[in-house]
């Protein structure tokens, strides 16, 4: 039976079809608003990514991580073929910081990357997650001991649970510290107020503390020292507030975002910010010492302190003192001993790798460099033919020369080498 359409049915069906067409046009228009994708197929993955459609203006993060090779997704995660901002970013690791320790293994790990073998000295993630900078084990043990929660200073807890199957220190594991399971209110307050410095903690508010977390806490300086006497340095953040850069040339200003900013007050369990920061570095003395020799205020922290001191050596350590070992004599020797040296004969020597990553010095086979008593290369210090030493600042590229203590007028004994002894004669007058 044929259905007869009434005039109103005609009008309705026409309006419906017009609405349908408008809806389709709207979808078409909406879809055409999406930008034309810029496709990058990184050689490492061989999988196309559209990230550069919006992020083509980002600077290369480092010479070791070119975007043509790594792309973006290898490190950052995210939906590689999505052009909608929220959806594309929905599965990113660590937000804008894939080096946060909660995701670092997925972002930076892998046997060819930063969780390689210890023998090759490529176990960076194992080193950093077991390091004092990440576990804060010494501070936690000290506080728990002080307030009677444990009977000695042995470390039982870290910021996160961590284990070390091949321990050289005898500490095989740490439990995750939960201050709220502690009965002592001081320890609870310590947990609330005093855990802002370990490298995976969100830093305190303020430019002076501004840093990222995880690897980027050190390797992505948000500010660089300025040539002027402005200790705050020069911000290198982009319009989005971030910095897309990784470096091993870490300036002292980055270390200062945690160190040298103030003290934890054990009576009130609060952080007392320093108020005596000078605008001249010489007067901005390092608090525990309150004195500077010339090298302590002209060099950067990483010029003396080694990678294992700063980033850990793969073992869980009880406290800061058990990992820091470099002293004045490491570079200068004593009245009776020259500093330790090593002549580079192996092209695969770690010194070459470190100098390659931060090319402040042109190391060659046959060069003699200084090494620490643990054998770590002080690769930026080379022995000169006349027995003196030349040094290139790792962060500043400044050139220095210096002499050994032996043969000088120094009468300090070889045993008394903590910096306070050297400061007695060599502290710079302020």
């Amino acid at each position: 039976m044929r259905r007869i359409l009434t005039p109103s049915s005609f009008l309705t069906s026409t309006l419906l079809s017009a609405g349908f067409l408008l809806a389709l046009l709207f979808v078409w228009w909406w879809n055409s608003r999406a930008p034309t994708p810029i496709v990058l197929t990184p050689t490492l993955t061989g999988k196309p990514e559209y990230c550069l459609t919006c992020h083509a203006d980002l600077p290369e993060i480092s010479a070791s991580h070119p975007v043509e090779t790594f792309g973006c997704v290898t490190c950052h995660g995210g939906e590689r073929l999505v052009l909608d901002k929220d959806l594309a970013h929905s599965s990113m690791r660590g937000g804008a910081n894939p080096s946060d320790l909660s995701v670092v293994e997925a972002s930076c790990g892998g046997s060819n990357c930063h969780s390689g073998s210890e023998a090759d000295d490529r176990h960076h993630i194992q080193r950093v997650t077991t390091s004092i900078q990440a576990t804060y084990a010494g501070a936690i043990a000290n506080i728990r001991f002080t307030f009677g929660a444990q009977t000695d200073l042995s470390p039982h807890y870290g910021i996160h649970a961590v284990s070390d199957d091949k321990t050289q220190t005898g500490i095989q594991s740490l439990l995750a510290f939960d201050p709220f399971s502690e009965s002592n209110p001081n320890i609870q307050k310590f947990g609330e107020e005093c855990l802002t410095c370990h490298i995976n903690a969100t830093p305190r508010e303020g430019d002076a503390y501004a840093r990222q977390t995880g690897c980027a806490a050190c390797h992505t300086p948000l500010r660089l020292p300025s040539n002027s006497e402005n200790l705050g340095g020069v911000s290198r953040r982009d319009e989005g507030g971030g910095v897309h850069a990784l470096t091993t040339a870490i300036p002292y200003t980055q270390c200062n975002t945690c160190h040298n900013r103030g003290n934890y007050n054990l009576r009130t369990m609060t952080f007392d910010e320093r108020t005596d920061h000078s605008t001249i570095r010489l007067y901005d003395y390092y608090q525990p010492i309150a004195q500077f020799t010339k090298c302590e205020y002209t060099l950067d922290c990483i010029d003396c302190h080694t990678r294992s001191e700063a980033m850990g050596d793969g073992d869980i350590h009880a406290d800061q003192k058990s990992i820091e070992y470099v002293q004045c004599k490491t570079c200068h020797g004593t009245p009776t001993e020259l500093p330790l040296t090593k002549t580079l004969t192996d092209p695969n020597d770690l010194a070459f790798r470190l100098a390659f990553l931060n090319p402040v010095i042109d190391l060659k086979l046959g060069d003699t460099i200084l090494v620490t008593e643990k054998g770590e290369p002080l690769w930026n210090i080379r022995v000169l033919p006349d027995g003196t030493y030349e040094m290139y600042g790792k962060a500043t590229r400044q050139y220095f020369t210096f002499r050994p203590v032996m043969g000088s007028g120094c009468t300090q004994t070889g045993e008394d080498q903590s910096s306070s002894y050297c400061h007695e004669c060599h502290a710079v007058e302020r």
């Binding site: 078409w28 490492l44 073929l81 092209p347 695969n348």
Partner: protein
């Protein structure tokens, strides 16, 4: 000129809208089906006439990154993609060096300096009947 009744006008408009909608939907469908989010990477590269590459020459290619060798035994090519993580190695006096992590290779592509632990890949070079060279990555 024929007078169009209101009913016919509505019918014509409705049909027009539906046809346009159908065409738009079909266009969208074709566009969707035609879209290739994962284009297959190119595996063959035409290198031009073989006589452009004289005997004994070592020619750096940029796409793909490779060095084309013409020796007594014929044409061959070495990939310049570092076998460590895939950066493009650079030629120097001793062979090749990776600018990313410092791996070094001799002129034949053998590793002389880690972190790479495999030699540079050899690539296939074919001579076509037209005496041109074709480089194949597969």
């Amino acid at each position: 000129m024929t007078n169009l009744s209101r009913r016919d006008f509505l019918k014509l408009a409705r049909d027009g809208f539906l046809w346009l909608s159908g065409a738009l939907a079909l266009g969208g469908l074709l566009r969707f089906l035609d879209y290739e989010p994962n284009p297959a990477p190119k595996t063959e590269f035409d290198l031009g006439p073989a006589d452009q590459y004289p005997l004994g020459s070592r020619t750096l290619l940029t796409d793909p990154p490779a060095v084309l060798l013409h020796t007594e035994s014929g044409f061959s090519a070495l990939s310049l993609v570092c076998t460590h993580l895939g950066c493009t190695v650079e030629q120097n006096a001793d062979g090749f060096i990776c600018p990313c992590h410092g791996s070094r290779f001799d002129a034949d592509g053998n590793v002389t300096h880690r972190p790479a632990d495999k030699p540079l890949h050899s690539l296939r070079v074919e001579i076509t009947p037209q005496n041109t060279l074709r480089l194949r990555l597969d």
